[in-house]
Amino acid sequence: MKRITSKPAVLAIIMACVASPLSAQESLPIRNCTWCHGSSAQGYTSAPRIAGQTHRYIENSLLSFKSHARDNPASKQYMWGAAANLSGETARGFAVYFSELPASPANDGDEALASEGKSIYVEGRPASNVVSCIVCHGPNAEGFEGIPRLGGMGHDYLKRRLEQWNEGYHAAAEPMPRIAKRLSANEIEALASYLSFVR
């Protein structure tokens, strides 16, 4: 009798061992990320949406938190510790996992500024040497390789990132510090508003 009952238990253990490598995500401590970034990774307060982000950008970001190259206050407070013991393999695993999740737009910018923001995004402001964003980030702000997706990110996050380059943070992220220093406060507000609505 005892031998019979143990059979399903053994089988369950074997199944668990076979099943786990098939779904790589199960070996990743996803919850460590989603506590702050939201259970579907759509972002929550100061933690940005990471669902649907380009995987190379997520991986590079995690490594730049670990190396402290990314040094704005929220990074220092939360992400330096979170990434301190991250292996390259785990960083890549997180990056691929979150890049494949569906993303929905934050829609939390000022709608009245969206058309001005779009015009800056597409055309830049050549007369004041503001470059166009579309050439790197793409027609739908979808990102490209290591260049991040911006479409549908939260307004406050986008705004703070654009401001922080001018405050000297994350100086290694060429060419963004040089681009952002040309933007006025109104232009930053308009860009962040427009991008929050992009699908």
Partner: protein, 215 residues
Amino acid sequence: MKIVGLRLATTAVFALAFALAVKAADRDEGGDSAHGFQAKLEYCKTCHGLSGEGYRGYFPMPRLAGQQPKYIENQLRAFIERRRVNPVMFNVAHVLSPATLAALSEHFRNLNPEPIGGGPRDHIALGKTIFEQGLPESNVPACSACHGPEAKGHEEIPRLAGQLFPYTLKALSYWGKERGVGGSRDDTSAIMVPTTHNLTHEQMSAIAAYLSYMK
């Protein structure tokens, strides 16, 4: 006493004139002043690379380093006149004064960074053959005949050496749609139309790969 007063007045006048000139230069967004030119140059390099080596964004931004000034000038005019269709570069070009344009193209001509490379290496040999000998059976002339044996270009004919792989591939693939638009007789880019029509995608990719590593 009078002399001292006069001197002071003269100094004040000069100081005022200087201050006004500086203010005018700050406002000069076309970039003709030294200050405006530096800002405009930095603007170009933000996308085209700090040494003009090009940059791989969602759209590839071409290498300008070592480019023929006449080619740059002609292309910027082509954007303005809509002979070459590119919404971003139309906006960039139409605020440039002729003097700034000339100074910018002269600056880029003298830069010589290493090429970014990046084209598929297994295509290089075929690319070299097409570049040097053409494809007689498909009526494709050797690229070197016009662009020079080292692909450095000449006057309105562009330098191709070290150009970004995706940029060259895109240019060859969509030639008549982007360049030589409007059927203007002055537009020398029409020369390339029959050549690009006779190339297969694989041959275009091979040429672009070969050029991407060329110094």
